[in-house]
Every structure is written in C-alpha cells, then in structure tokens.
Symmetry: C2
DNA sequence: CGCCTCATGTAAGTAGTTACATGATTCA
DNA sequence: TGAATCATGTAACTACTTACATGAGGCG
C-alpha cells in the first residue's frame, strides 16, 4: 500500500497530470519507488474516487486531454497518518544473491559476465546520484530545508556504493571457483 | 520468476518436504528470498507437474502425510540456465525512504519512533548474521568450498551495517526538523 | 472423546507487469 | 491526409498475501 502514498507525496510537491507524474517517477521518486504509467493512472482513479485528490477543472476531461490533479485535505491527512504509522521493514529480496547461492550448487558458468554487467549498471547509478548531490546539495548551502531529501539521496548513494564494492569483491572470488559444471569438468 | 529457482536450490542442497522447506526458508535462503508455506506448496505442485522435481516414493501420498521431493536432471539444468542468464537488477523499492520523502511535505510527527524501532530490528538482524559468520565461516578454516555462501552472507552483513548507520544518522537529523505538522505548529 | 500440533493444501484478494487500445495534437 | 507523438486508459496475467480448510497423530 505504498503507491498511493508515493503519488500523494508527488502531487503535494506539485499538482500534475498522469504523464507528468510518470516522468517525475522516472526521475526522482522512482529512485526508491518505481511505477509504470498504467499503475499511476489506475491509482489516480482510485484516489479520486476515494476523495483524496481531485482533478483541476481546467478543460473538458476528454480522452487524450491532459488532466491535472491536486491533493485534497483528506489526502494530506491520509499521507500524514501513513507516514507516522509503524511499519515493519520488508525482508531483503535480491535475485543476484539467490543466483550466487544457486551457483554454489550448479556452478558459476556464465554468472561472471552478468556480475560485471551489474557492476557497470550500479556504477552508472552511483554516478547519477552523485551528480544530483553536487547539483542540489552543494556543501556551502546546506540549509535545514532540504535535509530530509538529502538524507534519502545519501541512502541511495551509500547503497550503490555498497553494491559496487560487493560486486568487485565477488568478481575477485569467482574465477577460482568454476564449480561442478564449470570448465573444471565440462 | 525466482521462487521456483530458490526452491530448486534448496532441494539440491537437501531433498525435503514442504514443511521442511518452509523452515529452511525461514532460516537461511529466506534471508534474501522469503516465502510463505502457501507459496512453497503451490510452487512444488507446479515444479512436479513440469517434470523438474519428483516426490520421493516413501509412504502413501495422502493428505497430512509428509511428502519429500528431489530435483530431477531437468530441474538442475533449468537452475543452471537461470543462474547463468542475464537479468537486470531490480530498482530499489523502500518504504522508509518514501516515508521520509513524504515527511518532508507533511511533517515528521510520529516518524522518529519508527525510525528507532527499525534501527533496533536491523541491529538484531546484523547480530544474527554475525553470529552465523562466526559459527560457519571462522577465519582459520576459510576453505574455497563455501566461499560463495560466505560472499552472500557478507552482502547481508554489509547491508544491515549500512541500514544501522543510516538510521542512526537519520535520527540525528530528524529532531531539528519537526516540519509543518510537528510541535512547531500544533 | 476432545483438543492440540503437524502437515498439506484451497480460496480470495492485492499489487505489479506486459501488451494492447484510443483519442488528440503536431507536422510534413 | 497520413504518420508520429502525446496522453490516457483497458485487459490479461503473474506474484504475493491473508485467511481459512482438512486430515493425521499424539495426549489427557
């Protein structure tokens, strides 16, 4: 039940249409809660039906027309309630770790290439986050204003830093261990 | 499509019944790919129907009877194929980061307590991982055998270390910033 | 027998993904 | 006018979650 609250947050930051939301999810909020446009349109419909947001009455709401939404007081209250409510952290779920564990049984053949590819992808993501930090949070003007947003960005930077380090380490460990179906046998 | 492969890995490590798998998911594989017993039983049925595993013909397979499964050659081949195939990393999806971003808009009221609770939970998980490392991977007998499994455990340890550090940092940043609905206003 | 636990399941609902449909606008 | 793109949506499917059902065996 996080997508509606992600949308409420985005709409409070700036009233938007479905497509604008989709683009903003690609850029900023989607860095830690991604969503496709199909999810967003469906959820906008539910939020409107539930009285948490409303369409800004600009033009006729025909198909193919831009339709912008804003958050109603009930929506802001719901977001505040959800933000403060206790929620258990989700257990880790990571396919690459699972594949490594599987490779311990069926062999590491082919896995090395994808580890290298993941390393490159995480390096790119890290570079993107660091660029955002340089642009939006330069050391001289670290006002209290955006401290929370900076905190969230730091989590992204530190997580990508972890992955790049861990993947590099994994690549040094891997070649010595071809495993049962590796070149040592086949 | 990871659950069937998680189950194949677990069954290759040791043939098991549904309940035994459920328990092992709670302990070890579930640390990075959790699953409930409902998911596991359903998936066991599919894997058996697909000819990737088979029930060990011990007793009559009546309801309420233990039923153990083992992996067939086709299952091992499928797991090897999946492990080696390229897969894109899933984008980060974290509710706490979303809540912090929301708190920047609707205020941090109530969030602080749950940050502290999450810190405790992550500290506990970290302690559990470190205990496993002491028990299963002592420095003196670091044979090449279990290096991959150790690598996976290190990822868990480093990730929990990251979260505890980040949450402590977040707690130092939070009280200065009650936000629009915090004590500064209400 | 009645109750508890073990063990295996079924059913219904929610969330997310993938593929496709349709109207409006722009531009050659 | 036809093609490309913008913008909003529908439909079908897969994965996961939550709640409940059922049989077997042990115990007082």
């Amino acid at each position: 039940m996080s997508l509606p609250h992600a949308i409420l947050t985005a709409l409070l930051e700036k009233p938007s249409s479905g497509l604008e939301l989709t683009r903003r999810f690609d850029r900023s909020i989607g860095y830690f809660w991604s969503a496709t446009h199909q999810q967003i349109y469906r959820e906008l419909g539910k939020l409107e039906a539930g009285g948490l947001i409303r369409a800004l009455p600009a033009e006729q709401p025909a198909r193919g027309q831009k339709k912008a939404y804003e958050v109603l007081p009930a929506g802001r209250a719901e977001l505040a309630r959800w933000t403060a409510a206790a929620q258990d952290p989700k257990p880790l779920r990571d396919t690459m770790l699972l594949r490594l564990r599987a490779a311990a049984v069926v062999g590491t053949e082919g896995l090395r290439a994808d580890l290298g590819r993941h390393l490159r992808l995480h390096e790119e993501q890290l570079a993107e986050y660091e660029e955002i930090e340089r642009r939006d949070f330069p050391p001289e003007k670290d006002g209290a204003e955006d401290r929370l947003r900076h905190l969230v960005l730091r989590a992204g930077i530190d997580l990508e830093t972890f992955w790049t380090r861990w993947l590099r380490h994994a690549l040094t460990e891997l070649p010595d261990l071809p495993g049962p179906s590796g070149p040592g046998r086949g």
